[in-house]
Symmetry: none
Subunit: 213 residues, 3 copies
């Protein structure tokens, strides 16, 4: 019955460009959340490179605000290597919001989710549907472990997620989970943001390695 409350906590049936599902965790349990991004100055024509900025809303704490700045730097570098002509993240003013506005949110664990949302917005490609992810990121794009793996896995299932991306150093935590949580969840463990990118923007599940938790 308690779970029924959360069964509708999925805002998007399909995540559009610029939107990625993350996972949060408090003493009250886990929940899914969305990172949403949009251009803020829609028609700014050819702004100067280096003028882009990130406008943050969603009742974010200081650590999460810093996490978004780290994600922006990592996403810019990642995109620069992958698509040298794509200057979106360096020029545009981007608004990043995390619904719902009244709920305070903090912590670094949305790092890879924020990078992915920014890259989706910059490239115009939506992420794979039914994917959720959690992981802190370092400035050099290392994916660092986070807390609440059990609660987050449960929240992912409740939200209809079928593909989960976790930090490689959380593999142990995931493997300790009982089968009734992990059955049917395709899980991927990421050591760097490259690993996240490959899964999040794969069109099919051909790169998937199913969990054998």
């Amino acid at each position: 019955l308690g779970k029924q409350i959360f069964s509708s906590d999925r805002m998007y049936a399909n995540t559009p460009v610029g939107v990625v599902m993350g996972l949060a965790w408090t003493a009250m349990g886990g929940s899914s959340l969305y990172i949403e991004t949009s251009k803020r100055n829609i028609r700014s024509e050819k702004p100067e490179p280096g003028t882009g900025a990130l406008h943050l809303t969603g009742n974010l704490g200081d650590v999460m605000k810093e996490s978004a700045q780290i994600a922006l730097t990592v996403a810019r570098n990642f995109l620069h290597h992958r698509e040298p002509n794509n200057t979106f993240l360096e020029q545009e003013h981007i608004h990043l919001h995390v619904p719902e506005g009244a709920t305070p949110k903090d912590g670094p664990s949305a790092g890879i989710t924020i990078i992915t949302a920014l890259i989706s917005l910059a490239t115009g490609k939506p992420v794979r549907q039914d994917v959720a992810m959690t992981g802190e990121v370092s400035l050099k794009s290392k994916v660092l472990p986070v807390g609440g793996i059990k609660e987050k896995a449960i929240a992912a299932r409740r939200s209809g997620v079928t593909c989960l991306i976790l930090p490689v150093d959380n593999k142990k935590d995931f493997e300790e989970l009982p089968n009734f949580i992990t059955d049917g969840l395709e899980v991927h463990f990421a050591g760097t943001y490259d690993d996240v990118y490959k899964i999040a923007f794969s069109d099919t599940a051909t790169t998937a390695s199913s969990s054998t938790g």
Copy 2:
């Protein structure tokens, strides 16, 4: 008798361009409030796109201030798609105020009301008279549920509102209200801001589907 106090809580007999009635809710009950918007720099000639800003007053808490920033991004995107040549929201400095100035206000539930006020100001079209609305909005223009539906519906009636716009996920809450509250109230449930726009800027009630609460 208690209700008599509130019978004069309607500031505008007719809402002018840039003004929309919202609904607030506290432990003390519901009340109507107005979102008012005006150009702040009246004669700024052809400012650069991307320079527009939002100046906020009305004793607003942090969540409501963020809500206004979200509303600005959503309104810019909405207007860009609907009226590509209308650059008002991207160029002008806009002042948004929520009377009365001494009353603290907070929360995300004025999201759709603020978007509507901004679009009214930008297009020069007033909203349909006797409409009130409440709903959080996400950056991608999803309308999210809010609290206090009963108190807000009562406040709407007291203020002479005949058309109410609510989030689709609050449909259940509205349908549980007794008839003496809902009788004569035309209600619309919105899933995205598109739904709100169609009702708020409809000239006639031809698109209306009356509540059968």
Copy 3:
């Protein structure tokens, strides 16, 4: 004897351009106060429209600071309609002070007084002498009711005021006052700022409608 203390609370025998008498109210009683305005950057020649700003002093609380910002937007719009070539309020940096500096002041009820001081400064016209006013203003120039009408009326008389401008929704409060307070006080009730302007800048009392409290 107690009243004697306040008999000297009138700073100006005649209010110069840019200065208007308002009325304040605390649990200790009412008092008159002055809104003073001046150009801050005296020699700035032809600054760009849209660059004007308001510099506030006088130990003002947050609500009163916001009230001054609202007043600036309303005054700009009002002046734009009345004197389209007068760009003073949109170009000049204006300093607004409320003596005495050691006394904390707050609340929205100086709204119409601040607008009037700004318009006086911008047009170079002093207001009618012996007028005092109180009233919150909304962004669309509606005059909203305020508290402490009795205390403010007493303070106005003590300061030698003969003409009082009050919000229309305070008419009832004023009419309940005993004759010894209202006798000889010419009173005007304002619904919008237009009503205030007509009285404040009338040279004679020909437009006056005496109180019949």
